[in-house]
């Protein structure tokens, strides 16, 4: 047990977490939560100072999974980095591929055939469905609903991963998208199978909702916990479902209209209170919207090539310049910033990781809450450490 002096902590500026004063009774307790704890979703540590059960200081500690992804990418060709982007957010490898391919296409000014755009949207939305199913499952696991909801999420995810495997050859490390299109063309049988799986999914969401929404324990633990005000969320660069749970209407699929998202009819669900409950509900509502997009995309998908025939794969050297490309990944805004000096390798390769930047306000959300809620709040942010530490 350590006694710490919180007075030496200086907080300047209007947007930094306010210092929470201890009530003056008893000693303060410093707890190191993680790095090897199931609730931290990977190797992640938080230095928490407690006054009784109340959190008065929380500092996240990173770097346990750091392998300098960006430096490694600077040492190899543009193409060779694609399989490596799979390992960033290893739950959603296809959206990582997509964001990187989009940034390189911006850098080199490449076009993507229409069919490839449809395939990308289908795979991107399937990735979002399985990520959200898993995120909700893990959140309930953290809450003490041991196993059952998580296994429901896993059950649906497994069917989607089987789809990925038939198309790309791998369940999780898909390595599928290329600059100017996609690697292989999905067959008619594959599309038919995808349609069947998508048609079954709304039933799963209904079942999930029926089991969980009215649950008294869930409501008692999540409502009013870890509130994130919208102005702070925008200022702290929070993106994705966490930002929209605070009521900020900012979805890159609507804002940037990248790819062909302007052709689909879907809504952006928004939260009202910005607490853990809203973040949980937002994911279920986004699941339904993703299924709507999937239905439309699977219906309208045209024929044609899946790869731009003019696209250069070997000896790919974009002209000097730079580009920042971003997409709405399931966890938030995933961006890639590339600087080319005309050589075969990128001069600078930067990943804008949504998981890391969403953790900026973790301390603000946890201050004054009970230590048991820290696990819940972290679970509602939905992080993957492969992306946080890179």
């Amino acid at each position: 047990m350590n006694v710490v002096d919180t007075k030496s902590e200086k907080h300047e500026g209007w947007n930094l977490p306010p210092a929470v004063a201890p009530d003056g009774e008893g000693e303060l307790l410093e707890v190191s939560m993680g790095p090897h704890h199931p609730s931290t979703h990977g190797v992640f540590r938080m230095d928490v100072t407690l006054d009784g059960e109340r959190v008065i200081r929380l500092k996240p500690v990173f770097g346990y999974l750091h392998r300098n992804h960006e430096k490694l990418a600077e040492g190899q060709t543009y193409l060779a980095s694609i399989p490596y982007t799979d390992r960033l957010d290893y739950i959603c490898s296809l959206t990582n591929n997509w964001a990187y391919a989009l940034a390189v296409e911006k850098l080199a000014g490449q076009e993507v055939p229409e069919r490839a755009e449809y395939v990308r949207v289908i795979l991107g939305e399937l990735t979002r469905v399985q990520n959200h199913a898993l995120a909700v499952g893990f959140l309930l696991q953290d809450m003490g609903a041991s196993g059952t909801p998580l296994m429901y999420g896993f059950r649906e995810r497994e069917e989607i991963l089987d789809l990925f495997e038939t198309l790309t050859g791998s369940r999780m490390m898909c390595n599928y998208m290329r600059f100017g299109g996609c690697r292989v063309d999905p067959t008619a049988e594959w599309l038919e199978r995808a349609r069947k799986i998508v048609a079954k999914l709304p039933k799963f969401v209904d079942e999930f909702e029926a089991l969980l929404i009215g649950n008294e324990i869930l409501i008692a633990r999540t409502q009013g916990t870890g509130i994130l005000p919208p102005d702070l969320a925008v200022n702290a660069g929070v993106t994705g479902p966490v930002l929209r749970a605070s009521g900020v209407n900012y979805d890159l699929r609507k804002v940037d209209r990248y790819s062909i998202y302007d052709r689909f009819d879907f809504k952006v669900p928004l939260g009202e209170h910005g607490d853990v409950y809203d973040r949980f509900m937002i994911r279920l509502l986004e699941l339904r919207q993703s299924l709507r997009i999937l239905e439309q995309a699977l219906k309208d998908i045209p024929g044609g090539p899946v790869m731009d025939p003019k696209a250069k794969i070997r000896n790919f050297r974009p002209k000097p310049g730079e580009a920042y490309g971003r997409i709405e990944a399931p966890k938030g805004e995933l961006g890639f910033y590339l600087i080319s000096d005309g050589g075969p390798n990128p001069y600078r390769y930067r990943v804008r990781p949504p998981s890391l930047i969403n953790l900026t306000i973790l301390e603000d959300m946890c201050l004054g809450q009970n230590v048991a809620d820290v696990v819940l709040i972290l679970g509602s942010v939905d992080i993957v450490l492969g992306e946080v530490d890179r």
Binding site: G63, N68, V234, D389
Partner: protein, 223 residues
């Protein structure tokens, strides 16, 4: 969305003597950027965030870039007078010789900010700042008090590039451990000699093993 020229004009009207430069991007993406002078950067950033037309409230991405010292070799024609013996008589003759001259263009560390607007739904506006050199004058103002999202990203750049952000509330290494000395993302970073034993080393692993062995022997002989 305003163009870079219009944004530059707006900044210069609001912050006199801001010293903003336009950096053109020759690539097809055409995301041009504005280079700020570090002295006036905070005032400019506050203006960009609070201005009603721009409302750049979302600092999405902060990137460090390393530009090492560049040695540029140039061929220069030089005319000089040389003493020469022509037909048995010593004369001063002018002669033009081509010479290769080398000059070193000093490097710097650069920080790039990508700004978007959540309220107006436009962007990106790209800002850049440069340090004076790469060794001792590496201070830049921190944007954390204007956009909170710079917090961890500036810590990462401090860690991996060694840019010191003045005014950052908690400037510590983010990814590497505290005792680590170097900055691994710099272009001239040398990896430590951390060869591990392999039962049947071959190719580059063998070469590294032999090099490692030589170093150990040299160190042993000294003692």
């Amino acid at each position: 969305m305003k163009t870079v020229e219009e944004i530059k004009a707006a900044i210069e009207a609001a912050v006199p003597g801001a010293g903003v430069e336009i950096v053109l991007n020759p690539g097809p993406a055409a995301q041009h950027s504005l280079r700020l002078a570090p002295e006036s950067a905070l005032a400019v950033a506050t203006f960009l965030r609070d201005d009603a037309d721009l409302a750049l409230d979302h600092l999405s991405n902060v990137t460090g870039v390393d530009w090492p010292d560049k040695e540029i070799a140039e061929k220069v024609k030089v005319t000089r007078t040389v003493a020469k013996t022509v037909d048995g008589v010593e004369q001063q003759v002018e002669e033009t010789v081509e010479e290769t001259r080398k000059r070193v263009e000093p490097g710097c560390l650069e920080v790039v900010y990508h700004l978007f607007s959540v309220a107006k739904k436009h962007g990106p506006v790209v800002l850049r700042m440069r340090t004076e050199n790469r060794s001792d004058r590496v201070e830049l103002p921190s944007m954390t008090h204007i956009w909170r999202s710079a917090d961890f990203q500036e810590r990462e750049i401090f860690d991996l590039y060694g840019v010191v952000f003045k005014g950052h509330p908690d400037l510590r290494r983010l990814l590497m451990w505290d005792e680590f000395k170097d900055h691994p993302m710099r272009k001239d970073y040398v990896e430590p000699d951390d060869y591990e034993y392999e039962p049947t080393p071959h190719d580059h692993v063998l070469a590294r093993a032999q090099e490692h062995q030589k170093k150990i022997e040299a160190a042993g002989n000294k003692e």
